[in-house]
């Protein structure tokens, strides 16, 4: 007995939620004396109006796909991994060490190695909270959040004392060798005769993110491990009954989660900055939570939500640049989107369900 057709659940509800969020954002912009219509035009123009804008939007989206998938994997095991931020930072360290270790001849060799480095370091950073949760019962939300701070402090230390180029004033690592440079969209698309802004950041990592999205789907819904992760996430007592080892699932799910967060570094560290800089993650780990929430922990949903947040990030940056709308207000708009799509889901859902039930009844009467 379905209350609502599937398309309404998957498409209509998020759409209405986003429109509501934009409506209220408009009110806020109007309240500070700016024109909401101009603002939305600026955002859309900024995010999609030029190849450079599109590139930035995709670049941000790539970050969010990785962190969104990371949060979602853990969430399928009912683990709330708030530590994507720290795991992505450590992933950056892993990528940096790999890229600087060898004078890479070509990116096709550097990329797989860097992926392993990033994923390993991210997974290692997630392992400690996971072990503490599985064996000692320390709550994963608390430990992962603490590990964000430890990670930031660790990286701060390494960047000022260990990785810093001698004689430089900047707290950043040395530049990666030329052979570790990932082709950006301009270089990828040039052979097809498409002109793309050469200085914009979207790069090869975007396709790795797409691949991960697909593999995520396979893992969760097609493999035994995914089956066990979901079973454990739904009911720990049932998992025990079935002979699934809870500690094992907690640790494996968190390793995958941390690994995905760590993989983000091939985008921001290897693809964009081409060196490790301080605060390279820029909050993407936290945005991942919103992305997973909005995308209902489904790969397609995460992909779309990541693109939306990419648009909000890039469009928001343009907004504060051109319309002198303060950066903080752009954060307000992002928060409204999160609130309406995630937290206030039922506000849209309940009336819609009633509407569909009423429609269904009318149809039956006519028949």
């Amino acid at each position: 007995m379905n209350k609502m057709p599937k398309w309404a659940d998957a498409v209509l509800i998020p759409l209405i939620s986003i429109l509501l969020a934009f409506f209220f954002s408009g009110l806020v912009i109007w309240a500070i004396g700016k024109d909401p219509v101009v603002a939305i035009k600026t955002m859309v123009q900024g995010a999609f109006g030029s190849t450079s804008g599109i590139s930035y939007t995709l670049y941000y989206a790539t970050n969010f796909i990785f962190t969104g998938l990371a949060v979602a994997v853990a969430y399928h095991a009912r683990l709330f991994n708030i530590g994507g931020e720290g795991q992505a930072m450590l992933g950056g360290l892993g990528v940096t060490l790999v890229c600087l270790a060898v004078p890479w001849p070509h990116w096709t060799l550097a990329l797989p190695a860097a992926m392993i480095g990033g994923a390993l370091f991210g997974a290692a950073w997630a392992f400690i909270p996971a072990w503490l949760q599985a064996k000692r019962g320390s709550h994963i939300v608390i430990t992962t959040i603490m590990f964000n701070y430890i990670g930031a402090a660790l990286l701060g230390y390494l960047l000022t004392k260990v990785l810093k180029v001698p004689g430089s004033m900047l707290t950043e690592s040395a530049r990666f060798p030329e052979g570790a440079h990932l082709p950006n969209f301009s270089e990828i698309l040039a052979p097809f005769g498409i002109n793309f802004s050469p200085n914009a950041p979207a790069n090869m990592a975007f396709f790795v993110a797409l691949l991960c999205t697909f593999l995520f789907w396979i893992l969760i819904w097609k493999t035994r491990l995914g089956y066990e992760i979901r079973a454990y996430g739904q009911s720990e007592t049932a998992a025990k009954y079935a002979g699934i080892n809870p500690s094992r699932i907690v640790i494996i799910a968190m390793l995958i989660s941390g690994g995905l967060a760590g993989l983000m570094a091939i985008n921001n560290v290897m693809g964009e900055a081409e060196r490790l800089i301080d605060n390279a993650v820029e909050g993407a780990g936290f945005i991942g939570i919103a992305v997973a929430l909005m995308g209902r922990n489904h790969p397609i949903g995460i992909l779309l939500a990541a693109l939306l947040f990419g648009f909000l990030y890039q469009g928001g940056a343009e907004l504060s640049f051109w319309e002198s709308i303060p950066r903080e207000l752009v954060v307000v708009i992002q928060a409204l989107v999160i609130m309406f799509t995630g937290a206030l889901d039922n506000m849209v859902r309940m009336p819609l369900e009633k509407l569909f039930v009423a429609l269904g009844k009318n149809k039956k009467k006519e028949a």
Partner: protein, 536 residues
């Protein structure tokens, strides 16, 4: 216990001349597309006990929730003593003289009886006057009815039977004239249930009106004056209890003829399948749950373990099922099994030929959010026949297998892609049963096979268990329903406080004797004699 009376078929009881204590007229309530109550009218005479019987999901609880102000009816009227009332919350229900005793008690565990009784009905800011008043009333009530409870005892120290009395006292303290009890005997021993019925009779004599919701036909026959039967949200009949029979009520509940007794041949037990020796189980809090028990189950027999819930039966099943640790010796088909959890879990047990239908299908047996096909391999998902290759599960093949199993076990609707939570209790249980029986186990552990299962499905489930026994399999049955134990088992073992109180043959015992054993009462050396030894 069957009261056969051909004369009084489906005679509806006409409202008495004086205003009935409670009258419902045309109550309807829908939740979205589900019509939980359809045009329900009943009238209960003052000073009578009225039973409402129906299967799970028939709408009994919804109706009572409307009466108590939890839900608002879409249509219809409620009349109390002939006066129409509008009940929108429980405070108004209490003001109208309605008291409710829920199936799951709503008591503050670390408060005393007195504190619980006055909770929410204090007279003022200071508790002392209310407490004194309540103490006086409690004294008076315990003299009048058999409602004695120590007013200063903490709730957590009381037995469930006594906790229930506190719930009744709460209602009486609030001057309830109409008492509604929802499945009151679910957690009681037979002796406690009898005591409850005596209390209810006493209350009735004092002019109180009692409505009792239950799914147990025996209780309806025993205590009620009139009974209403609900099926799929509708009131199918209201009859005088004296004019009906359990068979007729069952038919009214299900909508077709039902076999209430299990039809089975005498058992022909073979070699021992599982031999349990000196099993000890200590739970995570360090409490000894099972205290050195010995049991043997043979091929082709059903060993029934009865006892009030919480006397070690659950832990026994969990240890045998491989997800709780214990000490002792267990031989399965002559070979030892590991009880330490180091080399064993649910999956290794299944590999040894032990299938397990757990007591709690919502929390253990099923993943409610999973679709039927995913549940159909739950616990067996490592079996080679369910794998497509080294990496992927054979989802298409599993769906196909599920479809066959669902047809065979008459799961309705037979849709493998429906989430488990969308099935009724009986059909959920059939899914678990199909999964465990289709693996062709040597030993089937089965806990509370028909809890929350409708009568029609009970019949089917019992038939499946007996059929498995007749194939020569060993079955260890745990149930708190004495009827079920009596009718299914070939041998009965009574558990109390983690120990075996005695062993009986169903033909040589009765519910009274089992009831005493369940309460831990043995006549001298009663536990020692084991008449069933000859079954070997």
């Amino acid at each position: 216990m069957s009261v056969q009376n051909e004369a009084g078929r489906q005679e509806t009881v006409a409202p008495t001349a004086s205003a009935p204590a409670i009258e419902l007229r045309g109550i309807s309530k829908a939740f979205g597309p589900v019509q939980a109550n359809k045009d329900i009218s009943i009238s209960v005479a003052k000073g009578s006990i009225h039973g409402i019987i129906g299967e799970n999901g028939a709408g009994k609880s919804t109706l009572m929730s409307i009466l108590y102000g939890f839900y608002k009816a879409d249509a219809g009227q409620i009349l109390i003593n002939g006066q129409e009332v509008n009940i929108t919350d429980s405070q108004e229900a209490i003001a109208a003289g309605i008291g409710m005793v829920f199936q799951h008690f709503k008591l503050v565990e670390n408060f005393t009886v007195l504190e619980n009784v006055i909770l929410g009905a204090e007279d003022g800011g200071l508790l002392k006057p209310s407490l004194a008043k309540a103490r006086k009333l409690l004294k008076q009530l315990s003299d009048e009815y058999e409602l004695s409870v120590d007013p200063d005892a903490l709730i957590e120290d009381l037995s469930v039977g006594h906790q229930q009395r506190v719930e009744i006292l709460k209602a009486l303290y609030r001057q309830a004239d109409i008492l509604i009890l929802d499945e009151p005997t679910g957690v009681l021993t037979p002796a406690e249930a009898d005591h409850l019925f005596r209390i209810l009779e006493g209350l009735k004599e004092q002019g109180k009106t009692i409505i009792m919701i239950t799914h147990k036909l025996r209780e309806i026959m025993e205590i009620t004056d009139t009974v209403s039967v609900m099926r799929r949200g509708e009131m199918t009949a209201t009859v005088k209890t004296a004019d009906t029979s359990p068979e007729e009520l069952a038919e009214l509940m299900v909508g077709r003829k039902v076999l209430l007794r299990v039809d089975k041949k005498p058992a022909s037990p073979g070699a021992p399948v599982i031999e349990i020796e000196n099993l000890e189980v200590v739970d995570e809090q360090g409490v000894r749950r099972v205290k050195g028990i010995d049991l043997t189950v043979h091929q082709g027999e059903i060993l029934g373990i009865c006892g009030v819930a919480g006397n070690g039966q659950t832990e026994l099943l969990e240890v045998l099922g491989g997800y709780m640790n214990g000490t002792g010796n267990i031989l399965m088909n002559g070979q030892e099994i590991d009880l330490s959890g180091k080399h064993s879990n649910g999956q290794t047990r299944r590999a040894r030929g032990i299938s397990h239908v757990p007591e709690d299908r919502h929390d253990e047996g099923l993943i409610l959010e999973f679709q039927a096909w995913e549940n159909m391999v739950f616990g067996y998902h490592h079996a080679p026949e369910y794998q497509k290759n080294a990496l992927l599960m054979d989802n298409a093949g599993i769906k196909e297998m599920t479809q066959k199993s669902m047809d065979k076990f008459d799961v309705r609707p037979p849709n493998p892609k429906l989430e488990a939570k969308s099935f009724s209790g009986g059909n959920q249980q059939k899914i678990v049963l199909a999964r465990e029986i289709e693996r062709n186990p040597d030993l089937l552990l089965i806990g509370q096979p028909t809890r929350g299962v409708d009568i029609g499905a009970i019949e089917f489930i019992h038939q499946q268990i007996v059929a498995l026994r007749d194939e020569g399999k060993a079955i260890l049955l745990v149930s708190v329903e004495l009827d079920e134990i009596m009718s299914l088992s070939d041998r009965i073992v009574v558990m109390f406080d983690g120990q075996i109180m005695g062993e009986r043959l169903p033909s040589e015992t009765n519910e009274g004797e089992l009831g005493l054993l369940m309460a831990g009462i043995t006549d001298t050396g009663g536990a020692a004699d084991k008449p069933a030894e000859k079954a070997q």
